[in-house]
Symmetry: none
Subunit: 198 residues, 4 copies
C-alpha cells in the first residue's frame, strides 16, 4: 500500500474515533485498530496524539474551505453568498457528523494555549464570512454598522451550536431545509417584525 493511502486511512480512522469517543477518551490503539494498522505505524505519520487531532481538523477544515470557495466563485451577490455559506456549512455538518464533532473537540477540548497555534485553516474558513460581510457593506447591501469580526463569530457559533445538537439528538425535530432557512433569515433580517422601527 502506498504511503499516501495509509496516511489518509489513519486520518479517516482518527476522525471516526475522535468523533465517537472524544479526544481524551480515544485510545491510540482504537485508532490503529480502526485503520487496520499497528499502533506504532501511527507514529510514522504523526508526532503524537494531539498532532493527529490537529491534522484531522486541519484537513477537514481545509476541504470545507476549498468546497465553499469553489461555490462562491461564481457568485457576486453578498446576500446570496452568505446564504450559500450557511447552507453549505449546515449541510456538511448534517452529512458528516464526525466532522462536526471533531470541530467541537478541537475548538474546545484541548489546551487553550495550543489551540490557536496552528489553526490557520480555521481562521481562513471564518474569514470567508467576514469577507462576505465586508463585500456586502461595500456594495451597500449589508448594514455598515455591523462589525464583520464579530458577525463572523456569531454566525459560525450559531451554526456550530445547532450542529452540536444534531450530534446529540440524532433525530432532530427540524428538517435541514427549515433550519437553513431559519438561520439565514435570522442573520439577514433579524427577528424584528418591523426593523425600520428599531
Amino acid at each position: 500500500m502506498k504511503t499516501a493511502d495509509k496516511h489518509s486511512k489513519i486520518i479517516r480512522a482518527a476522525t471516526k474515533v475522535f468523533a465517537k469517543k472524544g479526544f481524551f477518551n480515544a485510545r491510540i490503539s482504537d485508532i490503529a485498530k480502526e485503520a487496520k494498522v499497528a499502533d506504532g505505524t501511527i507514529y510514522l505519520y504523526f508526532n503524537n496524539k494531539y498532532d493527529m487531532l490537529l491534522s484531522v481538523f486541519e484537513e477537514k477544515i481545509g476541504k470545507l474551505v476549498e468546497q465553499i470557495n469553489s461555490q462562491l466563485e461564481k457568485e457576486d451577490d453578498p446576500r446570496r453568498m452568505l446564504e450559500i455559506f450557511i447552507a453549505n456549512h449546515l449541510r456538511e455538518m448534517k452529512k458528516n457528523k464526525n466532522l462536526a464533532e471533531v470541530i467541537q473537540i478541537e475548538l474546545r477540548q484541548t489546551n487553550k494555549i495550543i489551540r490557536d497555534y496552528r489553526n490557520n485553516k480555521f481562521s481562513e474558513y471564518l474569514n470567508i464570512i467576514s469577507t462576505i460581510i465586508k463585500l456586502g457593506q461595500a456594495k451597500d447591501v449589508f448594514r455598515k454598522d455591523i462589525m464583520p469580526g464579530i458577525a463572523k463569530r456569531a454566525i459560525f457559533g450559531a451554526m456550530d451550536e445547532i450542529a452540536r445538537i444534531w450530534n446529540i439528538n440524532m433525530d432532530s425535530e427540524y428538517k435541514i431545509e427549515d433550519t437553513e432557512l431559519q438561520v439565514i433569515r435570522i442573520f439577514l433580517v433579524g427577528v424584528l417584525e418591523n426593523p425600520s422601527a428599531a
Copy 2:
C-alpha cells in the same frame, strides 16, 4: 466548618481548576489542594470526577437562570427582554471566564451519551430565550416565521463562540459594549441594509 460551606468551597475550587486545565487535564488532587481539603474528602461530597463537573455546571447555570429571571421579571417588552438576556450573558461570561470555560467544557468535552442526561438547568436557561421569542411573536413584535427552538440555539451559540474567543485572546480587540450592541443588532435587525427587500 459546616457541610454546606465545604461543599461550596469544593465547587468553587473545581470551577477554577476545570476552567484552567479542562476537565481531562484537571486532577482531583489539584481541586483538593485548591479547596484546601484532602483528596478523599471530595468523595464525601461527589460520586466521581464527572459528577463534580456536572454539579459545577448545574450550579453555575442555575445561578444564571435566577439572575436573568429576576432581571426579566420587571420587563415585558420582548425586544428589551432579548437585549437584556444577551447583555447579561455576555457580561457574565466576560466577567467570569471560568464560567464560560466550564460551559464550553461541559457542553463539548464529555461523552455525548452522558451529556444531555441531567442538564435540566441548561435547558431551562436556553428556554428563556425561546420563551421571549414566543412572547414577542404573540405580541406581534417578532416575526412569526422565526422558529423559537432554532433561534434559541443560534443566539446562544453565537454568544458562546464569542465568549470562547475571549478565553483565548485575553485582550480582545472589541469592547464589551460594542459586542453586546453588535449581537443584539444582528439578531434583532439582521445584516441587511434594507430588509423589506428580502
Copy 3:
C-alpha cells in the same frame, strides 16, 4: 506500616532487582512485586526509576562510609588503615553481592553526564583512601612520589574488578582471606622481588 518502613522495603527490593537484572532490564513492577507494594506506591517515595537507583547507591555507599570510618577511628597507623579499608571493602562486597552489583551499575551503566551529579557519598568514600595515603606520606610511611588522587582510583578499581568477578563466577577459586592479603600486598609492597633495585 510506617512510612520509613515502606521506604526501606522499597530500597531493599530495588537493590535486589537492580543487582539481579541490571538497571535497564529491571522493571518497576518487578521492584514493586519484590517489595510487596503497588507499582504506584513507588512513586510516592521516588521521583522516577533513575532516582531509585541513585538513592539505593547513595544509601549503600553511605553505610560503607560510616562503617569504615568507625573502624578507622581507633587506628592511626596508615599502613594498618589501608589494610583495614581494603579488607573491609572486599568483605562487604563478598558478603553483599547486590551491593557490589549496584556499584557496578551506577558507576558504568547510566549516562555519564548524570553520573557525577549527586555522587557525593561515593567521592567521600574514595577520598578516605586518599586521606589515608596522605597521612602515610606525612608520617613518612608511604612513598612521597605516590599521587593520592591516582592511587585512590587504582586501589578502588582493583578491588571493584575483583568483586565483579565474584559476581560472575559464584564459586571463585580464591578464598577471601587470600584475596585480601594479595591486594594488600600488591599495593603495599608491589610485585618486585627486590624493590630497592627499582
Copy 4:
C-alpha cells in the same frame, strides 16, 4: 562496496554510538544512520543488538591483544613487559575513549549470565598480564607470593577505573605520563616507603 567494508563500517559506527549513549540508550537506527546504512542491513551482519556489542568488544580487544603482543615480542624483561603493558593500555584508553567506554559497557552493563559466554578475547588480554607475572616469578624478578590470577585483575581494574574517570572528566588534572608512571610504580614497588620492613 565489499561486504567486509560494510561490516567494519557498522562496527565503527556501533562503537561510536555505544560509547556515546551506552548500550541501552543506543538505538539501532542511530547506528544505521552513523554507518550510512539501512536499519535492516545491520541484521544481515549481526544477529541482534547485543551481538553487535559483543562483536565490537571482541574486535577492539582483539586489536589490543595483537598490538600488545607485537610490542612484548622483542622484550624479555618481565618488569619492562609489565611497564609496557600498563603504558600501552592507558595510552590506548586515553587515545580512544570510545574503546574505553565500550569496555566499561560490555563488562558491566549487560546481563551477567551472557557476559562471560564469548569473551575469549578479553580473557586472552588479561592473561597476558598473568603470563608476565608468572614469567617474572620464574625469573626471580617478581615476588613468588603474588597470585597471578588476582594480580591480573587488580592491575586491569586499577587501569580501567582510571580510564573511567577520563571519560567523565574530559580534562583530567593528571598528565598521561604521570599516570602511567604512578600505576607502574604502585604495582611494581607498592606504596610503602620502606618495603623491606613489611
